[in-house]
Amino acid sequence: MKSLHSPLPLALKTRGVSRREFVKFCNLMVATLALPPRYVSAVGKALSQTTRPVLVWLEFQDCAGNSESMLRTSNPSVAEFVLDLLSWEYHELIMAGAGKQAEEALERVVREHKGEYIAVVEGAIPTADDGVYCTIAGRTALEIAKHVCTSSAANIAVGACAWDGGLVRANPNPTGAVGLQEAVPGVKVINLGGCPHNPANTAAVLTHYLTFHDMPALDQYNRPLFAYGNIIHDQCERRAHYDAGRFVEEWGDEGHRKGYCLYKMGCKGPEATYNCPTVRWNDGTSWPVKAGHGCIACASHRFWDTKSPFYKRLPSVPGFGVDVTADEIGWVATGAVAAAMVAQVAGNIIRDKIRPKTRDDAKKPDDSGET
């Protein structure tokens, strides 16, 4: 793993200046996507295009937590995304332009890059009372979403709110909030749930898209399997304690200090799928269970209402936790879980699934790097 204290200028090494860095970066991407090593040159070629693909990032009923999460990405860094890999032409949180100039930038993308750009959506979309609960430049979020997301090449919903309405939609849903897919029926959306999304997964999805012009294999919620295909409980570093019956009984007790299982404190890990325990957060530094707190299943569907109260112990999780409710996890993931019991590595399972769906696709990657 990269040193946590590498010197600051990593983001400054331009591709032209340091070929070695770039190759290293391509290797990292191939590893993140669990692709065979021969894909390194394909990734490199895709990322060296002279015209950079255009991305717009829309914020609606949001807390900007997903934007902030994106600022923490390392492979690639946000500077590499913004300056080298993509042309990131609209994003309220960080773009230079404001007001009229910002809106003109968005309109120009929709007009001049129709069918070509990536739209990322953050936040829920209010539908009650004609959408008056969120307006930007005098237009409702609903109108903007319909306008921008029906002309894009791909739509990515980041975070729980853009996926299924998230917290904004939690009971009693005062503003009639929904996620992108429900707000704009018929458009293709990749959902990257989580509160917030883990930027390592989003970076991998974007890189996959840049390389293959296609999205990785998805589950029934249109979530990439490499990130949402495995149960947290099965990947948890505290799993051995669960199997041995060693539990935290009270906050701060001896078991808590020794890193025992948090199941009795309400941990939702046995019911949640995500690669949170393996990818972790903030350059792999930690994840909630390592900080001593139970999982709240933030990547699960409608988790605010379906997984709370968060400190209530889950009922009936039997030993060797492969038992999951099928309607929660879904049949695709359940299949993956069975495989995970053998392999324990998401990459091995999905390796073949994330190749382009059609081998004859004109845009298929160059395999010439194969050794």
Binding site: A96, A98, I136, N173, K258, N282
Partner: protein, 569 residues
């Protein structure tokens, strides 16, 4: 005479719209509008108060954790829980880390482009840039080769004709004064700060599992179990060393990059020490407990109010004097919209009465915002780093006194210069310097407790809801990066009966009240010059100097619980 509209105001958190009247190259009147509403307090009703913080934290993902802390403070106040010393220290470390990181991101990524012309950096001489950088700081990344590399990267961007995030900027605007070399240096530091914020926040990852939206708070303490001998304890000696190393690295960046940059930029824009003053009243609830929570006087950054820019007197803060108006907000009060209500008596019936979207202008003589207008004894208050610094300065806090006097000396400016747009920028930088130094001390205290075998991190006496009274109410105060934050909670039968938050950006960004008094943003914009109404760069400077956080600012309190029939299964 022209009406200008900036919507969206970008490089902020959330959705803010400013309308302003411009006459003779100057703003004569302004209106601030929050254009998004979620209703999180309503969603909290009926839920377990022990998890309120998990929900409330999602009020904001930029100043993530501040609502979590205010929330556990409120519930602990209601239930009479005192947290262990270690939990207080971990909370201080998390909060100070948040503020330092937030302030750095604000200066470089949200505010700098109002002062720095990115395209002008192409004209800079890398050799002269290197000389400039070395003349103001001993930061090692200052060679000619280094700045040439940054310039090449910007050149490649411009040559590609795809300027990405920088595409719609006001480059070449006459209000930009920095020489090309200062612009190039600032662009380099913009990129370095992107790397800094990501690595510095590893402190949150260790103590919160992740950032944004940390997951280690508990009513009664923290989940970060401590043990000097257990490798799997969240806090152990190896982790303390890691935190210290990250914090000390941050001191270098703040002292050698952030502070010199702010002083350099201020030197080229001195006229902004005389612009953007605003309402002239400043409030701080007090931040960072030094000892017991029961001793509300013992804050690192003290509590108090400054009125009418008079630094000779610090007035006390009494929460009973906080009220909110909805005269110009899209809500209704049963007793009429001309009266103000205290949060405990507050009621909110959202009722949009603005123009039907899509619209061109708001009806600013009527209701025009989703923000209410908070007042203290009927006076508008500015909150935030400048307010905290002024209250601390006027209170005679020795660290603040020394730092402010030294800085004003360097800038050859009187204390009155702080009542300004640039005063906010400077105060934020100085607060960062104070807190990043104090941060190391708190980590060391935590390490000492660990070494001495004091590992108590949670007070579990009231964890079981069966131990609670049938009804309870409490409030939690906290000084978030953007200012004074208060959460109020009422508990009945082990569930939340009512939940309320009065947050920093509501104080600053709120609309007019029944008497027509402007909110702080609105007042600060008056007399701001606007050279080109089509590109109102100067307006952005003053608004950004407050560091707006609009998702935080829009909230709803509905004490009577009506009008929400849109429940879902």
């Amino acid at each position: 005479m022209a009406r200008i509209v900036v919507d969206p105001v970008t490089r902020i958190e959330g959705h803010l719209r400013i309308e302003a009247q411009v006459e003779g190259g100057m703003i004569t009147d302004a209106w601030s509008s929050g254009t998004m509403f979620r209703g999180i307090e309503l969603i909290l009703r009926g839920r377990d108060p022990r998890e309120a913080w998990i929900w409330a934290q999602r009020i904001c993902g930029v100043c993530t954790m501040v609502h979590a802390l205010a929330s556990v403070n409120a519930v602990e106040d209601a239930l009479g829980i005192e947290v262990p010393d270690n939990a207080r220290l971990v909370r201080n470390i998390i909060a100070a880390t948040q503020t330092v990181q937030d302030h750095v991101i604000h200066f470089y990524h949200l505010h700098a482009l109002d002062w720095v012309d990115v395209v002008s950096a192409l004209k800079a001489s890398p050799a002269k840039t290197s000389q400039l950088a070395q003349s103001i700081s001993d930061w090692p990344m200052s060679s000619e080769k280094y700045f040439k590399g940054v310039q090449d990267r910007v050149s490649a961007l411009v040559a590609s004709k795809q300027l990405s995030l920088f595409g719609a900027g006001y480059w070449g605007h006459p209000a930009y004064h920095l020489p090309p070399e200062a612009n190039l240096m600032a662009v380099a530091h913009y990129l370095e700060a992107l790397q800094f914020q990501k690595e510095f926040i590893h402190i949150h990852a260790v103590l919160g599992g992740k950032n944004p939206h940390l997951q280690s708070f508990l009513v009664g303490g923290m989940s970060t179990a401590m043990d000097p001998n257990e490798p799997d304890a969240t806090i152990n000696p190896e982790r303390i060393n890691f935190l210290l190393e990250v914090a000390k690295t941050a001191i270098g960046f703040v002292n050698q990059v952030y502070i010199p940059d702010v002083l350099a930029v201020a030197g080229f824009y001195r006229e902004w020490f005389g612009l953007g003053a605003g309402v002239g009243n400043y409030m701080s609830y007090g931040g960072y407990l030094q000892g017991s929570i029961k001793d509300s006087a013992d804050f690192f950054l003290p509590r108090g109010i400054i009125l009418n820019r008079d630094l000779s007197k610090v007035h006390p803060v009494d929460p009973a004097n906080v009220t909110e108006y909805v005269t110009h907000s899209w809500y209704e009060y049963a007793g009429g919209d001309q009266v103000a209500k205290h949060p405990y008596q507050g009621e909110t019936n959202p009722k949009y009465s603005g123009p039907k979207p899509p619209y061109e202008f708001l009806e600013v003589d009527q209701k025009y915002s989703w923000l209410k207008a908070p007042r203290y004894q009927d006076q508008p208050m500015e909150v935030g780093p400048l307010a905290r610094l002024l209250v601390a300065y006027a209170s005679g806090q020795p660290d603040v006194r020394a730092l402010v006097d030294a800085t004003l000396g360097k800038l050859k400016a009187p204390p009155a210069a702080l009542f300004s747009t640039l005063g906010r920028v400077a105060a934020r930088a100085l607060e960062t310097q104070l807190l990043v130094n104090r941060l190391v001390g708190w980590i060391e205290e935590l390490g000492n407790n660990l070494a001495n075998g004091n590992v108590r991190i949670h007070n579990g006496e009231k964890w079981n809801p069966a131990t609670w009274p049938k009804t309870a109410q409490g409030f939690g105060f906290f000084e978030a990066p953007r200012g004074s934050l208060g959460h109020w909670v009422e508990i009945e039968n082990e569930a939340i009966k009512n939940y309320q938050a009065v947050v920093p950006s509501t104080w600053n960004a709120g609309p007019r009240d029944a008497r027509g008094q402007q909110g702080p943003y609105e007042a600060a914009l008056v007399k701001t010059p606007v050279a080109d109404p089509d590109r109102p760069l100067e307006l952005l400077r003053t608004i950004h100097s407050f560091d707006p956080c609009l998702a935080c600012a829009v909230h709803v309190v509905d004490a009577r619980g009506h009008k929400y029939a849109r429940a879902e299964a």
